[in-house]
Protein backbone atom coordinates (compact mmCIF):
# COMPACT_ATOMS: atom_id res chain seq x y z
CA UNK A 1 0.00 0.00 0.00
CA UNK A 2 1.55 3.31 -1.00
CA UNK A 3 1.54 6.30 1.34
CA UNK A 4 -1.04 7.96 -0.90
CA UNK A 5 -3.51 5.08 -0.54
CA UNK A 6 -2.87 4.93 3.21
CA UNK A 7 -3.55 8.64 3.62
CA UNK A 8 -6.61 8.67 1.41
CA UNK A 9 -8.11 5.61 3.13
CA UNK A 10 -7.64 7.21 6.55
CA UNK A 11 -9.23 10.45 5.31
CA UNK A 12 -12.21 8.57 3.86
CA UNK A 13 -12.71 6.63 7.07
CA UNK A 14 -12.62 9.76 9.23
CA UNK A 15 -14.86 11.76 6.91
CA UNK A 16 -17.55 9.04 6.81
CA UNK A 17 -17.47 8.78 10.61
CA UNK A 18 -17.72 12.55 10.80
CA UNK A 19 -20.58 12.66 8.31
CA UNK A 20 -22.50 10.09 10.34
CA UNK A 21 -22.01 12.22 13.44
CA UNK A 22 -22.85 15.45 11.63
CA UNK A 23 -26.10 14.05 10.22
CA UNK A 24 -27.15 12.90 13.68
CA UNK A 25 -26.95 9.17 12.84
CA UNK A 26 -24.87 8.60 15.95
CA UNK A 27 -26.68 9.70 19.13
CA UNK A 28 -24.82 12.46 21.00
CA UNK A 29 -26.08 14.84 23.72
CA UNK A 30 -27.63 17.94 22.16
CA UNK A 31 -24.83 20.22 23.38
CA UNK A 32 -22.16 18.09 21.66
CA UNK A 33 -24.25 17.77 18.52
CA UNK A 34 -24.89 21.50 18.21
CA UNK A 35 -21.72 23.11 19.50
CA UNK A 36 -18.82 20.71 19.04
CA UNK A 37 -19.46 18.59 15.97
CA UNK A 38 -19.98 21.49 13.51
CA UNK A 39 -16.59 23.07 14.36
CA UNK A 40 -14.60 19.85 14.66
CA UNK A 41 -13.07 19.98 11.15
CA UNK A 42 -11.85 23.56 11.67
CA UNK A 43 -10.45 22.63 15.03
CA UNK A 44 -8.58 19.69 13.47
CA UNK A 45 -7.25 21.86 10.66
CA UNK A 46 -6.08 24.63 12.98
CA UNK A 47 -4.50 22.13 15.38
CA UNK A 48 -2.64 20.41 12.56
CA UNK A 49 -1.39 23.76 11.25
CA UNK A 50 -0.31 24.80 14.72
CA UNK A 51 1.49 21.50 15.15
CA UNK A 52 3.34 21.98 11.84
CA UNK A 53 4.33 25.55 12.69
CA UNK A 54 5.49 24.54 16.12
CA UNK A 55 7.55 21.64 14.70
CA UNK A 56 9.15 23.93 12.17
CA UNK A 57 9.96 26.60 14.75
CA UNK A 58 11.25 24.08 17.27
CA UNK A 59 13.33 22.42 14.56
CA UNK A 60 15.01 25.68 13.62
CA UNK A 61 15.45 26.71 17.26
CA UNK A 62 17.15 23.43 18.20
CA UNK A 63 19.24 23.22 15.00
CA UNK A 64 22.79 23.03 16.38
CA UNK A 65 25.56 25.22 15.02
CA UNK A 66 28.62 23.04 14.89
CA UNK A 67 31.29 25.72 15.02
CA UNK A 68 33.84 23.40 16.67
CA UNK A 69 33.52 20.89 13.82
CA UNK A 70 34.48 23.62 11.37
CA UNK A 71 37.62 24.63 13.27
CA UNK A 72 38.64 21.00 13.70
CA UNK A 73 38.23 20.47 9.96
CA UNK A 74 40.30 23.52 9.02
CA UNK A 75 43.17 22.31 11.24
CA UNK A 76 42.97 18.83 9.73
CA UNK A 77 42.95 20.18 6.18
CA UNK A 78 46.20 22.05 6.86
CA UNK A 79 47.84 18.98 8.36
CA UNK A 80 46.57 16.82 5.47
CA UNK A 81 48.04 19.18 2.89
CA UNK A 82 51.44 19.10 4.60
CA UNK A 83 51.54 15.29 4.65
CA UNK A 84 50.14 14.93 1.13
CA UNK A 85 52.88 17.14 -0.30
CA UNK A 86 55.47 14.81 1.24
CA UNK A 87 53.72 11.85 -0.44
CA UNK A 88 53.95 13.58 -3.82
CA UNK A 89 50.31 14.57 -4.22
CA UNK A 90 49.51 18.01 -5.66
CA UNK A 91 47.66 20.22 -3.22
CA UNK A 92 47.23 23.99 -3.24
Amino acid sequence: MTRAIETISALLLFSSLYLAAFLGLIPFPAKVQEEIIPVLPFWALVSFGAYLLFSLGWGIFTFNDTEAAYHELVTEIQQAKKELRVKGVDVD
Partner: protein, 242 residues
Protein backbone atom coordinates in the same frame (compact mmCIF):
# COMPACT_ATOMS: atom_id res chain seq x y z
CA UNK B 1 37.57 -23.71 12.26
CA UNK B 2 37.30 -21.58 9.17
CA UNK B 3 38.49 -18.00 9.60
CA UNK B 4 35.68 -15.49 10.06
CA UNK B 5 35.49 -13.35 6.91
CA UNK B 6 36.56 -9.83 7.79
CA UNK B 7 34.40 -6.83 7.03
CA UNK B 8 35.63 -4.51 4.32
CA UNK B 9 34.30 -1.02 3.79
CA UNK B 10 34.17 0.47 0.30
CA UNK B 11 33.65 4.19 -0.07
CA UNK B 12 32.13 5.23 -3.38
CA UNK B 13 32.97 8.86 -4.07
CA UNK B 14 31.42 10.44 -7.17
CA UNK B 15 33.50 13.46 -8.19
CA UNK B 16 33.24 16.35 -10.59
CA UNK B 17 35.90 19.04 -10.33
CA UNK B 18 37.11 18.00 -6.88
CA UNK B 19 40.85 18.37 -7.49
CA UNK B 20 41.28 20.43 -4.31
CA UNK B 21 39.09 18.28 -2.09
CA UNK B 22 39.90 14.76 -3.20
CA UNK B 23 43.42 14.43 -1.68
CA UNK B 24 42.32 15.82 1.68
CA UNK B 25 39.20 13.66 1.86
CA UNK B 26 41.37 10.63 1.02
CA UNK B 27 43.79 11.57 3.79
CA UNK B 28 40.92 11.89 6.26
CA UNK B 29 39.48 8.53 5.18
CA UNK B 30 42.85 6.82 5.56
CA UNK B 31 43.26 8.39 9.01
CA UNK B 32 39.86 7.21 10.22
CA UNK B 33 40.13 3.67 8.88
CA UNK B 34 43.71 3.23 10.14
CA UNK B 35 42.85 4.54 13.61
CA UNK B 36 40.01 2.04 13.90
CA UNK B 37 41.94 -0.82 12.23
CA UNK B 38 39.39 -1.33 9.47
CA UNK B 39 39.86 -2.76 6.00
CA UNK B 40 38.84 -0.23 3.36
CA UNK B 41 39.00 0.97 -0.21
CA UNK B 42 38.04 4.17 -1.99
CA UNK B 43 36.36 3.99 -5.38
CA UNK B 44 36.51 7.30 -7.19
CA UNK B 45 33.91 7.69 -9.93
CA UNK B 46 34.97 10.81 -11.80
CA UNK B 47 32.67 12.21 -14.46
CA UNK B 48 35.38 13.55 -16.78
CA UNK B 49 36.33 16.56 -14.63
CA UNK B 50 38.23 19.14 -16.69
CA UNK B 51 40.13 20.41 -13.61
CA UNK B 52 42.57 17.51 -13.31
CA UNK B 53 40.76 15.49 -10.65
CA UNK B 54 41.86 12.27 -12.35
CA UNK B 55 45.56 13.27 -12.37
CA UNK B 56 45.35 13.89 -8.63
CA UNK B 57 43.55 10.55 -8.21
CA UNK B 58 46.44 8.81 -9.98
CA UNK B 59 48.91 10.47 -7.60
CA UNK B 60 46.79 9.19 -4.73
CA UNK B 61 46.94 5.65 -6.14
CA UNK B 62 50.74 5.95 -6.10
CA UNK B 63 50.74 7.37 -2.57
CA UNK B 64 48.26 4.96 -0.94
CA UNK B 65 48.44 1.92 -3.21
CA UNK B 66 46.11 0.46 -5.86
CA UNK B 67 44.47 -1.86 -3.30
CA UNK B 68 43.19 1.19 -1.43
CA UNK B 69 42.42 3.72 -4.16
CA UNK B 70 40.57 2.73 -7.32
CA UNK B 71 39.81 5.21 -10.11
CA UNK B 72 36.87 4.32 -12.36
CA UNK B 73 36.15 7.39 -14.50
CA UNK B 74 33.21 7.91 -16.82
CA UNK B 75 33.06 9.91 -20.04
CA UNK B 76 30.93 12.81 -18.88
CA UNK B 77 28.50 14.15 -16.31
CA UNK B 78 26.04 11.28 -16.03
CA UNK B 79 24.45 11.90 -12.66
CA UNK B 80 24.68 10.66 -9.10
CA UNK B 81 22.50 7.54 -9.24
CA UNK B 82 24.34 5.99 -12.15
CA UNK B 83 27.67 6.93 -10.51
CA UNK B 84 26.81 4.63 -7.60
CA UNK B 85 25.67 1.87 -9.98
CA UNK B 86 28.95 2.26 -11.88
CA UNK B 87 31.03 2.29 -8.68
CA UNK B 88 29.19 -0.74 -7.25
CA UNK B 89 30.53 -2.99 -10.02
CA UNK B 90 34.05 -2.55 -8.65
CA UNK B 91 33.27 -2.82 -4.93
CA UNK B 92 35.16 -5.63 -3.19
CA UNK B 93 33.91 -4.89 0.33
CA UNK B 94 30.72 -6.15 1.98
CA UNK B 95 29.73 -2.66 3.12
CA UNK B 96 29.45 0.48 0.99
CA UNK B 97 29.67 4.06 2.23
CA UNK B 98 28.36 6.92 0.17
CA UNK B 99 29.28 10.50 0.95
CA UNK B 100 30.06 13.87 -0.61
CA UNK B 101 33.63 14.85 -1.47
CA UNK B 102 33.28 18.50 -0.42
CA UNK B 103 34.04 18.09 3.35
CA UNK B 104 30.42 18.53 4.37
CA UNK B 105 30.66 14.90 5.49
CA UNK B 106 33.58 14.24 7.80
CA UNK B 107 35.02 10.71 7.48
CA UNK B 108 35.45 10.47 11.27
CA UNK B 109 31.73 9.69 11.50
CA UNK B 110 32.23 6.51 9.47
CA UNK B 111 33.69 4.88 12.59
CA UNK B 112 30.49 5.75 14.47
CA UNK B 113 28.35 4.43 11.59
CA UNK B 114 30.21 1.13 11.72
CA UNK B 115 29.91 0.85 15.50
CA UNK B 116 26.19 1.57 15.25
CA UNK B 117 25.74 -0.95 12.42
CA UNK B 118 27.33 -3.69 14.53
CA UNK B 119 24.99 -3.12 17.52
CA UNK B 120 21.93 -4.62 15.79
CA UNK B 121 23.25 -5.68 12.40
CA UNK B 122 21.43 -2.81 10.70
CA UNK B 123 21.05 -2.85 6.91
CA UNK B 124 21.58 0.91 6.62
CA UNK B 125 23.08 3.58 8.86
CA UNK B 126 22.42 7.18 7.89
CA UNK B 127 23.88 10.42 9.19
CA UNK B 128 21.42 12.93 10.60
CA UNK B 129 21.85 16.67 10.98
CA UNK B 130 18.59 16.99 12.87
CA UNK B 131 18.89 14.74 15.92
CA UNK B 132 21.11 14.46 18.99
CA UNK B 133 24.40 16.30 18.67
CA UNK B 134 23.96 16.64 14.92
CA UNK B 135 24.01 20.06 13.32
CA UNK B 136 25.35 22.29 10.61
CA UNK B 137 28.00 24.96 10.26
CA UNK B 138 27.67 27.91 7.94
CA UNK B 139 23.89 28.13 7.52
CA UNK B 140 21.91 31.30 8.08
CA UNK B 141 18.31 31.47 9.27
CA UNK B 142 16.84 31.24 5.78
CA UNK B 143 18.85 28.16 4.91
CA UNK B 144 17.83 26.48 8.18
CA UNK B 145 14.20 27.37 7.56
CA UNK B 146 14.22 25.90 4.05
CA UNK B 147 16.05 22.77 5.16
CA UNK B 148 13.80 22.18 8.15
CA UNK B 149 10.68 22.97 6.14
CA UNK B 150 11.67 20.58 3.36
CA UNK B 151 12.38 17.83 5.84
CA UNK B 152 9.13 18.45 7.73
CA UNK B 153 7.13 18.26 4.50
CA UNK B 154 8.72 14.95 3.60
CA UNK B 155 8.30 13.56 7.14
CA UNK B 156 4.61 14.39 7.28
CA UNK B 157 3.81 13.20 3.77
CA UNK B 158 6.02 10.10 3.60
CA UNK B 159 6.32 9.10 7.30
CA UNK B 160 9.71 7.44 6.85
CA UNK B 161 10.72 7.22 10.56
CA UNK B 162 14.05 8.81 9.71
CA UNK B 163 14.90 12.30 10.94
CA UNK B 164 17.13 13.29 8.01
CA UNK B 165 15.63 12.09 4.76
CA UNK B 166 17.71 14.15 2.36
CA UNK B 167 21.11 13.43 3.88
CA UNK B 168 23.61 11.72 1.63
CA UNK B 169 26.11 10.33 4.14
CA UNK B 170 25.19 6.67 4.56
CA UNK B 171 26.49 3.17 5.16
CA UNK B 172 24.79 0.30 3.33
CA UNK B 173 25.26 -3.43 3.25
CA UNK B 174 26.41 -4.00 -0.30
CA UNK B 175 23.48 -6.18 -1.38
CA UNK B 176 21.03 -3.73 0.20
CA UNK B 177 22.43 -0.82 -1.78
CA UNK B 178 22.28 -2.89 -4.98
CA UNK B 179 18.66 -3.79 -4.34
CA UNK B 180 17.55 -0.28 -3.36
CA UNK B 181 19.32 1.43 -6.23
CA UNK B 182 17.61 -0.91 -8.73
CA UNK B 183 14.18 0.31 -7.67
CA UNK B 184 15.08 3.99 -7.41
CA UNK B 185 14.03 6.13 -10.36
CA UNK B 186 14.53 9.78 -9.46
CA UNK B 187 17.60 11.92 -10.00
CA UNK B 188 19.06 15.01 -8.43
CA UNK B 189 17.57 16.42 -5.25
CA UNK B 190 15.09 13.66 -4.57
CA UNK B 191 17.48 10.76 -5.24
CA UNK B 192 18.68 10.29 -1.65
CA UNK B 193 15.16 10.70 -0.34
CA UNK B 194 13.79 8.06 -2.68
CA UNK B 195 16.58 5.65 -1.74
CA UNK B 196 15.60 5.91 1.93
CA UNK B 197 11.86 5.68 1.31
CA UNK B 198 12.33 2.63 -0.96
CA UNK B 199 14.62 0.98 1.59
CA UNK B 200 11.94 1.44 4.24
CA UNK B 201 9.26 0.03 1.94
CA UNK B 202 11.47 -3.00 1.25
CA UNK B 203 11.64 -3.59 4.99
CA UNK B 204 15.32 -2.86 5.60
CA UNK B 205 16.38 -1.75 9.08
CA UNK B 206 17.76 1.77 9.36
CA UNK B 207 19.72 3.41 12.20
CA UNK B 208 20.78 7.04 12.55
CA UNK B 209 23.97 8.65 13.79
CA UNK B 210 24.13 12.40 14.48
CA UNK B 211 26.66 14.18 12.25
CA UNK B 212 27.95 17.72 12.09
CA UNK B 213 27.57 19.02 8.57
CA UNK B 214 30.11 21.66 7.57
CA UNK B 215 28.77 23.42 4.51
CA UNK B 216 31.00 23.72 1.51
CA UNK B 217 34.37 25.15 2.48
CA UNK B 218 35.15 25.85 -1.19
CA UNK B 219 32.49 26.91 -3.65
CA UNK B 220 28.84 27.50 -2.83
CA UNK B 221 25.82 25.30 -2.68
CA UNK B 222 22.83 26.49 -4.59
CA UNK B 223 19.28 26.47 -3.35
CA UNK B 224 16.68 28.50 -5.20
CA UNK B 225 13.01 28.49 -6.06
CA UNK B 226 13.44 25.93 -8.83
CA UNK B 227 15.09 23.43 -6.48
CA UNK B 228 12.31 23.85 -3.93
CA UNK B 229 9.63 23.20 -6.56
CA UNK B 230 11.53 20.15 -7.85
CA UNK B 231 11.81 18.86 -4.31
CA UNK B 232 8.09 19.27 -3.59
CA UNK B 233 7.28 17.45 -6.82
CA UNK B 234 9.65 14.67 -5.80
CA UNK B 235 7.98 14.28 -2.41
CA UNK B 236 4.55 14.16 -4.04
CA UNK B 237 5.65 11.54 -6.58
CA UNK B 238 7.05 9.32 -3.84
CA UNK B 239 3.79 9.75 -1.92
CA UNK B 240 1.93 8.36 -4.93
CA UNK B 241 4.37 5.60 -5.82
CA UNK B 242 5.91 4.16 -2.66
Amino acid sequence: MAPIPKDKYSVILPTYNERKNLPVITWLLEKTFTEHKLDWELIIVDDGSPDGTQEVAKQLITAYGPNRIVLKPRAGKLGLGTAYVHGLQFVTGNFVIIMDADFSHHPKFIAEFIAKQKTKNYDIVTGTRYAGDGGVYGWDFKRKLVSRGANLLASVVLRPNVSDLTGSFRLYKKHVLEKVIQTTESKGYTFQMEMMVRARALGYSVAEVPISFVDRIYGDSKLGGDEIVEYAKGVFNLWLKV
